[in-house]
């Protein structure tokens, strides 16, 4: 990395952190620290909501996913705008009327303490573990490609985020996130423009799209209905709707963003801004991945993008086999390049027969390359202890570091770090607020001073920061656990959403029935996961329906409930 890149990277990160700390340096009380004193404007909340969802993996994995699988991942976000509308109509007015600090407080008002505690604990468990991965995942990729020390990278991200979140609370999270979003969007837009400019002279945007379309990468909408298929229009609209309802309506890392709004109208506008901008933003990120794919049709890509794992194979007895695969891959690439150039020419001369012929040759050469890559993957699996074989996560950063001009490399690395910091800060802030409001203040120390709870929030932010850093540092030895944590996260959302849907819309349901229905549903979701092949997006719908259904069945069998105790 050049001096200019380091300058851009360090300057960007330092400016954002110092700005956030300076803007929120004054002593705060609990409402200010956890709810930003209800001073946030809609556009700040919108940016904060988007920055919370956009983790570093969004900017590393998503272009790689488009490179490998095309743009069909966009369908995952189709349910999101629908959820934003529903939450604006229903959840926001309720949360504001009750003046809650966390989403879970409402559950005690509506049901009882144990249902509130169950939802809060499910959130703390899931978010507490997954935040470690939010730090670990970009750190491992940055260290593999740039040779940075993994431990130092994890400590840098974790400590810096903990520092400004402790100092400024929700306000600092929001102040830094708007700058982080500006860097992220600006960086990705610059990357998209530069990729097109790096293509050969006779290949413009139109030709690039023709190449991508021929390779099947512009598969944005799939109308077929298959519950085992992860991404199609229906799983995106229905499953994505329930996932978004759950994530934005019940996950404190998101609810905390819009509870800081000046008014109900401002919070609504913040959510609706997310509904308007999210799909085009994901389209841009996926488009960058597709353009990188087109770039590598004209310039030879490495056989394997994770260079560290490739180096391990080259240092082993399998080196000759690897080198043979590399030279065969070069031959396949040259065949594909010739076919791609023929396709471009046929596209420019509107020669349909020529296009069909070139497309067939491209497909044959791609099949050959895919076969060589799977042979390479077998070698990587044999000669690497690290079982993480998702090579596509390394595509975008490899492209950035090897092909982009100086200065832009630093900016794109700043994009990745900003994304990691933005989502981690929201997670620390929400973990601290849930721990203080739903556990410490509610069940352990009910009548302390405001200053005491702010101090507790600060210490709990430090605590959750330490837990996440610790988990991230040891994550490399716990690959299977990481997978388990990611899966567990997606399995919990349906149950938590079911509890909230029952609370919002089914007025006849009481707390006891919902509590036991939630436990039963969670058990069933685990069984479904182990014994069926249903795509995970559907668990959100299944979980929600089961909680409400079981609650109706259980209610007549359970003893009549006492009135819920008042919320603090």
């Amino acid at each position: 990395m050049s001096g200019l890149d380091w300058g851009v990277l360090v300057g960007t990160i330092a400016f954002i952190v110092l700005y956030g700390v300076w803007k929120t340096r004054k002593a705060q009380h609990m409402s200010g620290y956890l709810r930003a004193d209800n001073t946030e404007r809609w556009w700040m909340m919108g940016l904060s909501i988007m920055a919370t969802q956009a983790s570093a993996i969004t900017f590393l994995s998503t272009p790689g996913q488009a490179f490998d699988d095309g743009m069909r991942f966009i369908q995952f976000y189709f349910g999101l705008p629908l959820a934003m509308v529903v939450l604006s109509i229903t959840a926001i007015p309720i949360y504001y009327r009750l003046k809650v600090f966390t989403a879970y407080e409402y559950l005690e008002t509506r049901f009882n303490l144990k249902t509130r505690s169950l939802a809060a604990l499910l959130f703390l468990l899931q978010r507490g573990l997954s935040t470690g991965i939010t730090i670990y995942a970009p750190a491992i990729i940055l260290s593999a490609i740039l040779g940075w020390n993994l431990t130092a990278t994890i400590l840098f991200i974790g400590v810096v985020v903990t520092f400004y979140t402790v100092v400024g609370g929700t306000k600092a999270v929001s102040q830094t996130q708007r700058l982080q979003m500006a860097v992220m969007l600006g960086g990705m837009l610059a990357a998209a423009i530069v990729v097109v400019r790096l293509l050969p002279e006779n290949v413009g945007f139109s030709e690039a799209m023709a190449v991508a379309g021929t390779a099947g990468k512009l598969n944005l909408v799939d109308l077929s209905f298959n519950p085992n298929d992860r991404y199609n229009l229906w799983s995106g609209l229905i499953g994505g709707f329930f996932l978004s309802l759950s994530y934005f309506g019940t996950d404190q890392s998101q609810v905390g963003r819009y509870l800081g709004g000046e008014t109900i109208a401002q919070s609504r506008l913040g959510l609706l801004m997310n509904g308007l901008v999210k799909v085009p933003m994901q389209f841009l990120i996926l488009l960058v991945g597709v353009l990188v794919f087109v770039f590598y049709q004209f310039y030879a890509p490495p056989l394997y993008f994770n260079q560290q794992q490739a180096a391990n194979v080259l240092a082993s007895s399998a080196a000759p086999a690897w080198q043979k695969l590399e030279s065969e891959s070069q031959v396949a690439f040259q065949e594909k390049k010739a076919a791609t150039l023929a396709l471009v020419q046929a596209h420019q001369t509107q020669d349909q027969a020529g296009k069909d012929q070139a497309a067939l040759k491209m497909q044959q050469a791609e099949e050959k390359r895919k076969d060589l890559r799977s042979q390479a993957q077998e070698l990587v699996k044999t000669y690497n202890q690290d079982t993480d074989l998702k090579d596509t996560d390394y595509v975008f950063l490899t492209f950035v570091t090897q092909q982009l001009p100086r200065g832009l490399v630093g900016l794109l690395l700043a994009v990745v770090l900003c994304a990691a910091m933005g989502s981690t800060a929201s997670a620390f802030n929400s973990l601290a607020s849930t721990s203080v409001v739903d556990v410490y203040k509610r069940s352990l120390r009910r009548n302390a001073s405001d200053e005491h709870y702010v101090r507790a929030s600060r210490w709990l932010t430090v605590g959750w920061g330490a837990v996440s850093i610790f988990f991230a540092l040891f994550a490399s030895q716990l690959e299977n656990l990481i997978q388990a944590v990611n899966i567990l996260g997606s399995l919990f959302y349906g149950t938590v959403l079911g509890i909230f849907i029952a609370a919002f819309y089914f007025k006849r349901l009481a707390g006891n029935a919902v509590f036991w229905a939630a436990l039963l549903t969670q058990l069933l979701i685990f069984l479904l996961y182990y014994y069926t092949a249903i795509a995970y997006l559907w668990y959100n719908l299944i979980g929600t329906v089961l909680v409400v259904g079981f609650a109706y069945l259980l209610q007549p069998m359970l003893p009549k409930q006492r009135l819920p105790s008042p919320a603090p």
């Binding site: 007015p93 799209m209 379309g213 512009l218 944005l220 109208a265 609504r268 085009p280 389209f283």
Partner: protein, 41 residues
């Protein structure tokens, strides 16, 4: 804060129009993406 206190959104007379804007943009995007998919199939 009660329901009566909710300010109207900017540029629109009611929140319902605002919601239709969000849903309309989504519908247009899905249609556009579908046309792109079909055009390059």
């Amino acid at each position: 804060m009660t329901k009566g206190d909710i300010d109207p959104p900017p540029f629109f007379k009611s929140w319902t129009s605002m919601y239709w804007l969000v849903l309309g943009v989504l519908a247009v995007l899905i249609l556009l993406f579908y046309l792109i998919t079909e055009a390059y199939k």
